[in-house]
């Protein structure tokens, strides 16, 4: 199994570590382990961890990685775990220059994990917890049987993306407006205003008061919806309210924990990969590279930065954006004066010699995630330089094509695709729908329809956990639609939104 570094590589690690510190990177202790390509594929299939709970999809992942490597299509260079200490892997067969590059890249990631706000609430002992999860699931497998446990995991994974991405950062205070309304409704029961006490029996006869009281009571009852507010964390709602066996509760909570652990990595992919690439390139070209390694380094680096027309490469987009920010803050290309300058030549020659670039990027890596990063720093000039465009599918020609290069549209499309990982936002709105213990979800439609066959299969899985009919309100072709699965049949009807 994994080996520690050879003296030669340990010396290189110390060297790179020194450069990383010199440049001001700040990271947890980082442990490098040496693995064979087989082990690398395994660890990668497990999402970077040495141990995961038993499940066939790791095997599927592993097969695909192993095949990709065999056919020379892909090769995993780096794997880092957000943990304290960080763990990272080096592949035995790689040449020395690659190992140096990977180490430099890894220190970039570790710095990001430690400092970016999105990771503040992540579990830094995840490596232990993952192992615990594995033990717990194995124990259930022994007790309940592999088929049943795996089947439950399959169905739960189908709902894995239904968590509240921002939950760790949100404090939910009681809603002040609601409290006020409630107070008002209590007042109303006191009846009309009475100026002369002897008139009371006439103005507010007791029958009238009783009916008023009853009405208020009913209203209150109705307002006590379940859940009181729409709940984004569907998994949590199921944990609390679905009629699950103890072992199911345990497994569901394991999967939910893991989903939350991975969420920030999805929210900062462009920043994080860009940051690590920025640092490997800085450390390598300014310090670590030897003359005879330059070409191999350049070959590898340019391989990582390669772009395909129909995809965003987070490494490439990220590193370019970091460099652009550094350059702009070095030259003072920001603020009112810059924004208002529309002389193209002046803009090009702009250099206030501020030299604040490095400081700025360190600050940015702390307080932003991909969405705010792109929203704040992706400028029209940058989009043009990087040749960004929006593409879409042309049904008539049955092919993908470039739709637009207009900056606003590019940026909006990019932001939409990052919102909630580019996945639909879905909430529990009623756990007692139609007063029949049915579950009602709502999809916050943002212009894109759900993939129909997948939605139906997912409902089927949801139903098997909820054990009563389940429903989701969404929109197809602009029309409100209620999809329903009652345990036997799917149905669909139009509804008013």
């Amino acid at each position: 199994m994994p080996k520690s570094l050879s003296p030669r590589l340990a010396a290189l690690r110390d060297e790179i570590h020194g450069y990383a510190k010199e440049f001001g990177l700040d990271f947890f202790d980082t442990v490098f382990e040496m693995v064979s390509y087989d082990e690398m594929n395994m660890v990668a299939a497990y999402g970077g961890f040495p141990t995961r709970y038993p499940h066939w999809r790791w095997g599927m992942e592993y097969e695909q990685l192993a095949k990709g490597y065999e056919y020379g299509l892909s090769k995993i260079y780096e794997l880092v775990i957000n943990n304290d200490p960080c763990y990272a892997y080096l592949m035995e067969s790689n040449p020395e220059v690659d190992q140096k590059l990977v180490m430099a890249h890894v220190y970039g990631h570790c710095d990001f994990f430690k400092n970016n706000f999105s990771f503040r609430h992540t579990n830094r002992r995840m490596i232990d917890d993952m192992a615990n999860h594995a033990t717990r699931v194995r124990r259930w497998v022994d007790k309940i049987g592999v088929e049943k446990v795996e089947d439950f995991i399959d169905r739960t994974l189908s709902l894995e993306n239904l968590i509240d991405q921002h939950a760790p950062h949100i404090r939910r205070n009681p809603d002040p407006q609601r409290a006020e309304e409630e107070a008002k409704s209590n007042e109303r029961v006191e009846g009309f205003k009475v100026n002369r006490e002897y008139m009371r029996g006439f103005i507010n006869p007791s029958e009238f008061m009783d009916s008023q009281r009853k009405r208020a009571e009913d209203e209150k009852q109705q307002r006590k919806r379940f859940p009181e507010r729409p709940q984004r964390d569907v998994l949590y709602f199921l944990l609390e309210h679905a009629p699950l066996e103890p072992w199911e509760v345990d497994i569901l909570s394991i999967l939910r924990d893991e989903a939350y652990y991975f969420a920030p990595q999805g929210q900062t992919k462009i920043m994080n990969e860009g940051w690590a690439s920025y640092w490997h390139s800085t450390i390598m070209t300014r310090r670590a590279l030897k003359d005879d390694e330059i070409i191999d380094y350049a070959d590898h680096h340019s391989g990582t930065m390669g772009v395909r027309p129909g995809a965003i490469n987070p490494y490439k987009l990220g590193i370019e954006l970091w460099r652009d920010i550094e350059d702009r803050w070095n030259k003072g290309k920001f603020g009112k004066e810059w924004d208002e300058c529309d002389d193209l030549r002046a803009r090009q020659a702009w250099d206030k010699k501020l030299g604040a670039g490095r400081e700025k990027i360190f600050e940015v890596r702390k307080h932003y995630n991909d969405i705010t990063f792109i929203d704040t720093f992706l400028t029209a000039e940058f989009a043009q330089q990087q040749k960004l465009f929006v593409y879409g599918f042309n049904d008539k020609r049955n092919s993908w094509e470039i739709l637009d290069r207009e900056f606003r549209k590019v940026k909006n499309k990019l932001l939409t695709s990052l919102t909630n990982f580019g996945q639909p936002i879905i909430e529990v709105v009623d756990g007692n729908y139609e007063n029949r213990s049915e579950l009602l979800l709502a999809h916050k439609h943002d212009g894109q329809d759900l993939k129909g066959d997948y939605a139906r299969e997912t409902l089927r899985n949801l139903q098997s956990l909820w054990r009563r009919p389940v429903n989701i309100i969404t929109r197809y072709d602009g029309k409100g639609t209620l999809l329903r699965y009652d345990g036997q049949h799917h149905s669909e009807k139009k509804v008013e939104l």
Partner: protein
């Protein structure tokens, strides 16, 4: 060394296998796999091996890309990655529903599902063949094996080192010393050899549908026998009133209009065996397909004689498949059944339509010969 993941891996394979098994009859009958065959694997569409989620259809969604091109320009095939544009750090995306299964595995599944016995080898002599394995990079070699990327990289290194590289005019000219070649080793592999001799009636009464059945059936026979013998050869004979040897493609696509003399094919089969496949070194499998119509009772007599005297003593198993056609009388299988039906190494099968292929494969391979 065993990795922990091997459990998950074999579980995954088991699931795939289960899905294939459950659908095997359909795959066998439809013959849809024939078109998806690669060199030694076949890609099989598996329903719902991926995990369904609430998500957007990628086609409706579109995305942001990077690169040159005018608005309206098409992106080339493969430019757009299917599935979610942006993914969580788990490397988990859309999984292709097509699963690659090696022919080896497919044969195993076929064997399990049809409960085919392993073939008892008659000949166990090991015949050694050589296999080329590319192992590394060398400074000498034939031009056809030149490693272009390595060569150019080497040249670039040299030019930079000697100061002859000009970034403004990045021209790289490899010299003799820069050239790099893939190098290989010969590996010796022991093999047990076997030959299948396919014979088919291509006279007017054998229509396209009948030939399709033969084609599908022979795919499965091939797959199974290849699983049993590493060094498998195939020969193809077509016949109407006369027989000739052809290549595989011709075999499946020829249609003649003449009469039928089955004996001509058997004669050629006998000659091929005598000339190329001594019994001492080869496991031999003649498969004959026709619609059961023969020219005359006399010709049928000749066939049986040849089978008895020349072919059956030489071969592991002789198999005859009779494909039902509206024109054929279907007499031939009755004659064979009467004459050699109880001989050990004869397998006879009637194939009414595509649905019957499944059972017919079992007829042919079920005896383990």
């Amino acid at each position: 060394m065993t990795l922990k993941i091997h459990q998950d891996h074999s579980r995954f394979k088991q699931i795939v296998r289960g899905k294939i098994k459950a659908n095997l009859r359909k795959y066998v009958q439809k013959g849809e796999m024939l078109g998806k065959k690669g060199k030694d694997a076949i890609s099989i569409p598996i329903p719902f091996i991926d995990i369904p989620r609430f998500k957007y259809g990628h086609k409706e969604q579109g995305g942001v890309g990077q690169g040159d091109g005018e608005v309206g320009q098409q992106l080339g095939p493969g430019a757009v990655e299917p599935g979610d544009g942006h993914q969580a750090g788990q490397g988990e995306g859309d999984h292709a529903l097509e699963v690659d299964v090696t022919l080896e595995e497919l044969a195993q599944i076929l064997g399990e599902e049809l409960q085919l016995p392993r073939i008892e080898r008659r000949q166990n002599e090991r015949i050694v063949t050589q296999k080329v394995k590319y192992t590394g990079v060398n400074t000498t070699g034939p031009e056809s094996l030149r490693h272009f990327k390595r060569t150019f990289k080497q040249a670039l290194k040299r030019q930079i080192a000697t100061g002859t590289y000009d970034p403004k005019m990045p021209v790289i000219i490899p010299t003799r010393e820069d050239r790099r070649y893939r190098s290989y080793k010969l590996q010796e592999l022991p093999e047990t050899n076997a030959v299948i001799i396919y014979m088919m009636d291509v006279s007017g009464s054998m229509g396209d549908e009948q030939k399709e059945i033969v084609r599908i059936e022979s795919f499965w026979l091939d797959t199974w026998l290849k699983h049993q013998y590493k060094g498998l050869e195939s020969r193809y004979i077509i016949h109407d009133a006369v027989a000739r040897e052809v290549d595989r493609d011709t075999f499946f696509h020829t249609r003649e209009s003449g009469g039928t003399m089955i004996s001509s094919a058997y004669k050629l089969c006998r000659d091929i065996i005598q000339a190329d496949y001594p019994k001492s070194a080869w496991n031999i499998y003649p498969f004959h397909f026709s619609d059961g119509d023969n020219w005359s009772a006399d010709d049928t007599r000749q066939c049986i004689e040849m089978l008895r005297n020349d072919i059956l003593p030489q071969v592991n198993q002789f198999a005859y498949g009779q494909v039902e056609s509206p024109y054929g009388s279907g007499q031939f299988i009755k004659d064979l059944r009467e004459a050699v039906g109880d001989t050990n190494n004869v397998a006879l099968s009637e194939i009414a339509d595509k649905d019957a292929i499944y059972a017919s494969i079992k007829d042919f391979l079920g005896k383990g010969r």
